[in-house]
């Protein structure tokens, strides 16, 4: 939870709102996401993973910054590019890799894979293979919180592509009409697969669409941890206070292609290089170093530590058992049928 005790308004929001421990924890999670994605890519190259994957390298500040003020009782719904959201919501890395490797110890016992990792104990209702699929589900989770008076807030992550799905409009409208405790966080990485936002979307900023649903909408630099945190924390506080939903648009960029099939024919090397210059992790590290929260040496040590965690998680996944073939039809129904 943000702590607003430090009232020096010249400091970036995150440094005012969060303790040293929280901030170092956030940088650590950002490293974990980056290393997780690199580990996943490497495992794919080695043939340890089949299928496809959607990597979020470059979007780490959006995932971690958005979840800063959440507790385990709060919910998130995630997307096909969801590994970062899992880590931000405190998922176990070994079980994440195990799911990726299709193992019985994975979050979904190997039945879901990359696009369906969920961790309901921690409030992560799951990634989704359908663009926009999580939007109404998040509104439903917020309806439960309001009806049962749990005080929980739901963050609904979605991409720029989803903002042109009907589900987006239906979900935002209902959340507003019923004044539900949900925060819509759009991770605008400029491309829905290959189609740019300019070619697909009639408004300049996706946050402009909030007006149509009578909710606050704000566009922030999604690679600036503090800016993301400031915007989403305010939206979460508003939701928690019973004032209804908000839309936050985090402008960011995925360094890798959409998925493994991407031959990168729709964007230039220069554009990618330009965005790599705005590396959210480097910027977060610089923020902490420049305010004497960490030294460069400590940042390096933190990064090395996360690399070891990823190696351990991959080893756990590798050593885990595969599901039994005869169990392929289990878990369709709660009370299993013959």
């Amino acid at each position: 939870m943000p702590d607003t005790a430090n009232s020096d308004t010249n400091l970036p929001y995150a440094l005012r709102a969060y303790s040293r421990e929280d901030l170092v924890g956030a940088l650590r999670k950002m490293f974990l996401i980056r290393k997780f994605e690199e580990g996943a890519e490497d495992s794919y190259t080695r043939g340890l993973i089949h299928g496809t994957m959607h990597l979020s390298i470059g979007q780490e500040a959006s995932a971690v910054g958005s979840c800063m003020s959440l507790t385990d009782a709060d919910k998130i719904t995630s997307t096909h590019r969801g590994h970062g959201h899992c880590v931000a919501k405190n998922a176990d890395l070994g079980r994440m890799f195990a799911e990726f490797f299709g193992k019985e110890t994975g979050y979904c016992r190997g039945r879901g894979g990359s696009m369906h990792i969920a961790d309901v104990e921690k409030g992560n209702l799951g990634a989704n293979g359908i663009v926009g699929g999580g939007l109404p589900i998040a509104v439903g989770a917020a309806l439960t919180a309001k009806r049962l008076g749990t005080g929980a807030v739901t963050i609904c992550f979605f991409g720029d592509g989803a903002n042109n799905e009907g589900a987006f409009h239906e979900a935002l409208n209902m959340a507003s009409v019923w004044k539900l405790p949900v925060v819509f966080v759009c991770e605008n990485n400029k491309y829905g697969m290959s189609t740019s936002i300019e070619r697909s979307t009639s408004v300049k900023n996706i946050a402009d669409r909030a007006v149509a649903y009578s909710m606050p909408g704000v566009t922030v630099d999604g690679n600036d941890f503090s800016a993301v945190t400031e915007a989403v924390d305010a939206a979460v506080a508003r939701a928690r206070a019973g004032e209804g939903p908000s839309l936050v648009e985090n402008l960011t960029y995925r360094w890798r292609g959409h998925s493994k099939s991407d031959r990168n024919r729709y964007r230039t090397k220069e554009e990618i290089a330009e965005w790599m210059e705005r590396d959210p992790i480097r910027r977060m590290a610089d923020l902490l170093v420049s305010h004497d929260i960490l030294s460069e040496a400590e940042v390096g040590a933190l990064e090395a530590e996360t690399e070891q965690e990823i190696r351990d998680a991959i080893a756990f996944a590798n050593q885990s058992p595969a599901p039994l073939i005869e169990d392929a039809t289990r878990f369709v129904y709660t009370e299993e049928m013959a």
């Binding site: 799951g126 699929g133 109404p136 439903g140 239906e170 019923w178 709660t334």
Partner: protein, 336 residues
């Protein structure tokens, strides 16, 4: 439970029986919410929710915007996180707008998450032809949803079952899709008072017989029973099975009847090809009951066209009593 044996059974319409089930559920379980288009003060397009909004308020009997996809998804999310929503589609046809949430989300979430969650969602679909509402308000789409592992699909034919299956659906941890025939809403029958459940997955033998088995669903049960009375006068004793649940199908009741009668006629309103009767037929053909068949299986289903507007055409494209009689007589030929 047999309503005839229950002293407190009263005559109610099918719609009243469903409303009574929802009333009991709202009264006894604070997690239950009703959601749908115009189900509040309007009372629902078919007056099924009626005046429940006045008793429970708009927080529990929620009018949704005309947003079938979003509304269905909200119900999925609510079910996933602790509520027990009962979602009403105004017409079953409109489920086409919500198939993403029903098929990709509600049906698959438990499996995709390796058993970590359940989705205790109840959806109600006013279905079927006979109202003159034409092709987009008259379909029987139960076979679409019955094709999806993870869903359960029921089709009550009587007021007693309409109430009992809804209360059973609410106790079920998984998504249950209830297809209610619009023409049955005003039909009457004895309905036990209070809480009871009709088991999902169990067919009912509505009339015992020895000469042929008629497996029917929904409104076709009543047409089959009417035909069976005429057949009895001609010396043909038809056994009429009300399938009640389409998924999971009651294999044992159907096979036992076919072993006894040696003849099978399936009657259903959905389009004949790849419909519920196709599955019933295949189930029999693949089983030991096949050896008991004395004649080829016969299916009567909806014609291979959308439901037309003209009333004579509308009647012509779904099975009617004379057609059932003709099929049953032909099938029973040689036995009498």
């Amino acid at each position: 439970m047999n309503a005839m044996d229950t002293p407190e059974a009263r005559e109610l319409s099918y719609a009243e029986a469903i409303r009574e089930a929802m009333d009991i559920a709202l009264e006894s379980d604070p997690r239950v919410v009703l959601m749908g288009e115009d189900i509040g003060v309007y009372g629902g397009a078919f007056q099924v929710t009626g005046d429940l909004v006045h008793k429970y308020g708009t927080d529990r009997v929620m009018d949704t915007p005309i947003s079938e996809l979003g509304g269905a998804g909200v119900a999925v999310g609510a079910a996933l996180t602790g509520l027990r929503p009962i979602f009403e589609f105004q017409f079953s046809d409109f489920a086409a707008l919500a198939m993403e949430q029903i098929v990709n989300q509600a049906a698959k979430l438990r499996y995709m998450l390796g058993g970590a969650v359940s989705v205790p969602l109840v959806m109600r679909f006013p279905a079927g032809s006979g109202t003159g509402a034409a092709a987009q308000h008259s379909q029987s789409i139960e076979a679409w949803l019955a094709h999806v592992p993870g869903l359960k699909v029921v089709q009550p034919s009587t007021p007693e079952d309409a109430k009992g299956l809804l209360l059973a659906a609410l106790e079920d941890p998984d998504p249950v899709m209830i297809f209610e025939h619009k023409i049955l809403y005003k039909s009457k029958g004895l309905v036990p008072a209070g809480h009871y459940t009709t088991p999902i997955g169990k067919a009912a033998i509505r009339r015992a017989g020895t000469d042929l088995t008629i497996v029917a669903t929904s409104i076709m049960v009543h047409k089959a029973l009417a035909a069976a009375e005429t057949l009895a006068a001609e010396g043909i004793e038809a056994e009429v099975i009300d399938l009640r649940t389409v998924r999971p199908m009651d294999r044992e009741t159907v096979l036992a009847s076919v072993r006894k009668t040696g003849r099978l006629l399936c009657v259903y309103e959905g389009v004949k090809t790849l419909g519920v009767g196709a599955e019933v037929s295949a189930m029999v053909a693949e089983s030991d009951a096949f050896d008991f068949l004395d004649a080829p299986i016969v299916r009567l289903g909806g014609a291979e066209c959308p439901i037309p507007y003209n009333p004579d055409l509308e009647k012509a494209v779904v099975p009617q009593v004379p057609g059932i009689l003709d099929a049953a007589r032909a099938l029973a030929k040689g036995r009498i």
